[in-house]
Assembly symmetry: C2
DNA sequence: GACTATACGGAGCGCTGTTCCGTTTGGCAA
DNA sequence: TTGCCAAACGGAACAGCGCTCCGTATAGTC
């Protein structure tokens, strides 16, 4: 392996670094204002750069989105083990963690839909979310199974995929509450209940 | 009310009626081949008509879809009361009926996503499905509540919307089974269980 | 056969994402 | 300081989409 990261031959130019930062800020602002589906031109315009620039820094839409939300995804991933330690039962921890996940998805207009839209080059985005969050979910799930609380016939990926789906367009319909549906799903995992 | 339906002044022209039929067949075939998202041009081409024709018969994409699937939706709606009569319990009937609904959505590539895509003029489609199916779901739900089988804090609309969401992109991912997730959700409705 | 409401075809508009290439500029070496 | 060139930039241009508009063709009637 040739060392860690940078300095292959020369460092990134100062204006490039500046533009990358500008673009990230503009993208974040645009996502809040117009949703994750916002036209690339809109982000470029807000950042005051050309189309070429945005595509050089982020070859695909998914790269922008991943970059914008990366630390939030990481925070969500980190919260898993913490919840497991703090909660009264693994199933409670799982439920709480999934609530966090739902909050994250729902507050980003259209993120859930974009995540699912694999066909148009969102594999990268999908891959990052899966890679980062599925192991955490699996840990919580396994703990709950080991504790004899829930059934063992569902995988972490499938569960997260389902919950992700429940969040699609959740922000566009006042008569729909993704958290309630998620709660139902998580309750359905339980092996037995007495009330 | 001025009578029932047709004959306002003159009947539809023969070629128009012929084209409508041709278009419906072409649309159905195209949906199977390329999914519900298929370009309008593709349907027009397959039917051998111009863009103008297709838009005159079906002012919006949703109208084509509704027309193509109308009788299937109706069949699904009709199945509700029948299941209620035949099943051992209202909850079982509900579960079975929702399975039918899931099968219907999953086999039509992209239908579920289109249904949710309210922003681009799919309100009509959404409205037709809601108007036709929600009352049926409500009937099943109420029966199960009356029987003391399930919790009473969820509406038919929200439940169907959730299940519809679970079906989005279900056909594109071999590791995902919309039926299993739906089952979990329906199980979560139960008030108590003993195994 | 003539006339007209009805229906048709497809060019064209506006909006996407993405590419391509001529132009500008940061950073280093002389 | 100056000169150089790889790196970075900007935006015109292309392709594909939904949808509209209007000149043309024709079914049905008199």
């Amino acid at each position: 392996m040739d060392t860690s990261e940078k300095q292959p031959v020369r460092a990134k130019r100062a204006d490039a670094r500046r533009n990358e930062k500008t673009l990230l800020d503009a993208a974040a602002a645009t996502f809040v204002a117009s949703g994750v589906d916002a036209p690339v031109r809109e982000i470029a315009a807000k950042a005051g750069v050309g189309m070429g620039t945005i595509y050089r820094h982020f070859p695909t839409r998914a790269d922008i989105i991943v970059a914008v939300y990366r630390h939030q995804v990481d925070a969500c991933a980190d919260a898993g083990p913490a919840l497991l330690a703090d909660s009264t039962s693994p199933h409670t921890a799982l439920a709480r963690w999934l609530d966090m996940f739902v909050d994250f998805l729902v507050t980003k207009h259209g993120l859930a839909a974009a995540l699912r839209n694999d066909q148009t080059g969102f594999e990268t985005l999908h891959a990052y979310f899966v890679e980062r969050l599925v192991p955490v979910c699996a840990e919580l799930l396994d703990a709950a199974i080991a504790a004899g609380e829930i059934r063992a016939d569902i995988g972490a990926y499938e569960l997260m995929r389902g919950i992700g789906n429940l969040c699609i367009f959740a922000d566009q319909d006042p008569h729909y509450d993704a958290r309630r549906l998620t709660g139902l799903l998580v309750t359905g995992l339980l092996l037995a209940r007495t009330a």
